[in-house]
């Protein structure tokens, strides 16, 4: 495979989700009410992907995603497309926010590609030859579902790892070059982290393209203590929300994989300054060599107003470019997408 050595150093990317345009939300509402056909909704999704792709292009993001326009929620989407799940109704996740938490009521089964159409369309309309494909990982799907069927959560997670692996193979065959396994739940239970990492490793087995794992809202040290077991190339993590404090952990645990460095906070509408982003990157460069550092927002941007999300991406890119100029003086200008782990 040609590993595209032309990526600029400190490639900028996204975690995945982006705010759905207002008109898409309206189309979804009308579709639910039976006033918009399936075909019309598909067209609306496609148009939305083109729109968010354009936002990312204008902002200057090197590796875009489709903004997860077609996904209502990161676990629901997959549970709806796998065998063995059912839904009983919405549950509250905080305040007035709900999601449909699925229940596993039978053996988990792969029924067919879940992201293939999404990926192919994204690739087709992308301004970049590389797009990021986020997929929810086995542990998070299990942790954020009810288990009525499997004797243990571990059994469920490893069965999910198999189906995710099947999906990833399909995506790689179709040309995907950058996969991100989303595992925000992974650090939740300290005593499960070790085997949860093994499950993620199962999910990415044989996937010889760039693989990142995204985690947020957790104690990273629970994961870093097993860094030598990780079979992903990169951890893409939230930092800005924590004032970049966890960086020191990476030194402590002698982590030597890549880092997807979260430089803008997705929980606030306050848009950061490019200088703040640049300063944070310089701090990360004290620990990571430039070729091991990717730049991204803390997490998906979908909960921010679209204008804010766009501004945050712009600032992320501007801050990164400032540091790139400094690296250029040292002769460092490009990086590679080649996986650093043999899976």
């Amino acid at each position: 495979m040609n590993w595209v050595s032309e990526l600029p150093v400190l490639p900028t990317t996204v975690i995945g989700s982006y705010p759905r345009p207002k008109w898409l939300r309206e189309a979804i509402r009308l579709h639910k009410a039976g006033k918009v056909s399936d075909e019309e909704l598909t067209e609306a999704f496609d148009d939305a992907v083109v729109s968010v792709m354009r936002d990312q292009q204008v902002a200057g993001v090197d590796i875009p995603s489709d903004g997860e326009m077609r996904r209502d929620e990161m676990v629901e989407y997959f549970a709806e497309r796998l065998g063995g799940f059912r839904f009983y109704g919405p549950i509250r996740v905080w305040g007035t926010a709900y999601y449909r938490k699925p229940s596993v009521v039978g053996r988990v089964e792969y029924l067919g590609p879940m992201l293939l159409h999404e990926f192919k369309f994204t690739q087709h309309v992308s301004y970049s030859t590389i797009v990021k494909v986020p997929i929810t990982g086995p542990y998070t799907i299990a942790e954020w579902s009810y288990n009525e069927y499997y004797k243990t959560k571990r059994d469920l997670v490893f069965d999910l790892a198999k189906v995710i692996n099947q999906e990833l193979k399909t995506l790689v065959e179709a040309g995907a070059k950058f996969i991100q396994v989303d595992e925000p739940a992974l650090p939740t239970h300290e005593d499960e982290v070790e085997w949860a990492i093994d499950a993620v490793n199962e999910a990415v087995k044989g996937i010889n393209v760039k693989v990142a794992m995204h985690i947020c809202y957790g104690d990273y040290s629970r994961v870093l203590r097993y860094a030598d077991r990780l079979k992903v190339d990169q951890l893409a993590l939230e930092f800005a929300n924590r004032n970049f404090e966890p960086l020191k952990l990476f030194k402590e645990y002698k982590y030597d994989l890549e880092l997807g460095f979260g430089v803008v906070d997705v929980h606030t509408n306050k848009v950061e300054e490019p200088q703040t982003v640049a300063k944070a990157i310089r701090k990360a460069l004290e620990i990571f060599p430039p070729e091991r550092l990717f730049i991204n927002p803390d997490c998906g941007l979908k909960l921010r107003p679209r204008r804010v999300a766009f501004e945050k991406l712009k600032v992320m890119v501007e801050g990164t470019r400032m540091v790139r100029e400094e690296l250029k003086k040292k002769g460092i200008t490009t990086t590679s997408l080649k996986p650093i782990i043999n899976r």
Partner: protein
């Protein structure tokens, strides 16, 4: 000895009611209309549970985002901050930031909701006792961000005293108190903290001549059971959903001669329990000489869909037959 059936803690807000909450927070619904919607939601909850023969029910805490939020409404000098995971659940609460000495506020909204619940129980001619739900001082302290005390014991003590004031002021509105303490069995709790808690706990209940249910959620540790049951309560509640067989044996030993609340209806799984299994656990508790047995949900009912709550309580109502 008969088995009692109880609901502990909050009951889920329905999505349509949540829309009213959002509109109220956005200033699009008046306080009066909002209060009316809350009352209607409480009425829906209690009415929907009426056929299960409940012996204890709560006011449902519909008005509040979570139990911690309900307590914040009873306190002065606390602000709400960012969302944080509620223990190890995919459920988030707003962290109370303690900015000054904790003092009681009037808690009019909570009192209003207790009164609504009381009236609904009366109108439906239910025999259920109404429980006032409060978060225990230990859990509240550990779930908060302290910017004032720098002394956990002092914080817990002032909190206990403030909540006690509300309990005393509104004593005519409820029949029993449930103190929920999910943090009690949490990993890594220092002995010093537990000792401080034991000293503070009586302040919470001082002068309250009501039945007390001390209920833990989520975790259970055999080595702390003795500490837990040394605190004054009429019933000791345990989440018996994980490793239940193993843990039940310890619980049974600890509750000999005491009242016990068995959290057997799993609030974190949609799998509906079997009546035979529930019976077995009740018999187990009886077998070791538990004074009285209550069966109910293991933790927040917010964590499962409403339809499942009803299936679970319907099965549990078979215990009374």
């Amino acid at each position: 000895m008969s088995v009692s059936l109880a609901v502990t803690g909050p009951y889920p807000r329905r999505p349509n009611f949540a829309k009213v909450v959002s509109r109220f927070l956005g200033g699009k619904v008046s306080k009066q209309d909002y209060d009316r919607a809350v009352a209607k939601e409480i009425e829906h909850y209690i009415t929907s549970m009426k056929d299960y023969g409940l012996d204890y029910i709560t006011a449902g805490l519909m008005r509040f985002d979570d139990p911690v939020d309900a307590m914040v409404s009873l306190l002065k000098n606390v602000e709400k901050n960012g969302l944080v995971r509620f223990y190890d659940n995919n459920f988030y609460y707003r962290v109370p930031v303690i900015k000054g000495k904790l003092e009681p506020s009037k808690g009019e909204d909570y009192a209003k909701d207790l009164e609504t619940a009381r009236n609904v129980i009366k109108d439906l001619k239910l025999k259920a006792k109404l429980k006032l739900t409060v978060v225990g001082p230990l859990s509240f302290a550990l779930l908060s961000e302290d910017k004032h005390y720098n002394d956990l014991k002092a914080l817990m003590n002032d909190y206990a005293s403030a909540i006690n004031s509300f309990m005393k002021a509104e004593k005519n509105l409820y029949d029993a108190v449930e103190v929920i303490e999910p943090s009690f069995f949490q990993k890594g709790l220092a002995t010093k903290v537990l000792e401080a808690y034991k000293e503070v706990y009586p302040t919470l209940l001082e002068g309250i001549n009501k039945e007390v249910h001390l209920v833990s959620y989520f975790y259970l540790r055999a080595d702390r059971l003795e500490d837990f049951t040394s605190l004054k309560a009429d019933y000791y509640g345990f989440d018996l959903t994980e490793d239940r067989k193993k843990l039940a044996a310890f619980v049974y030993r600890a509750v000999k001669g005491k009242g016990v609340y068995l959290g057997l209806l799993d609030s974190r799984n949609t799998k509906v329990e079997k009546l035979t299994s529930l019976r077995r656990f009740v018999e187990g508790a009886r077998g070791v000489g538990a004074k009285e047995v209550i069966v109910g949900n293991s933790s927040l009912l917010d964590l499962i869909p409403e339809v499942i709550i009803h299936r679970k309580f319907k099965v549990a109502s078979g215990l009374k037959g």
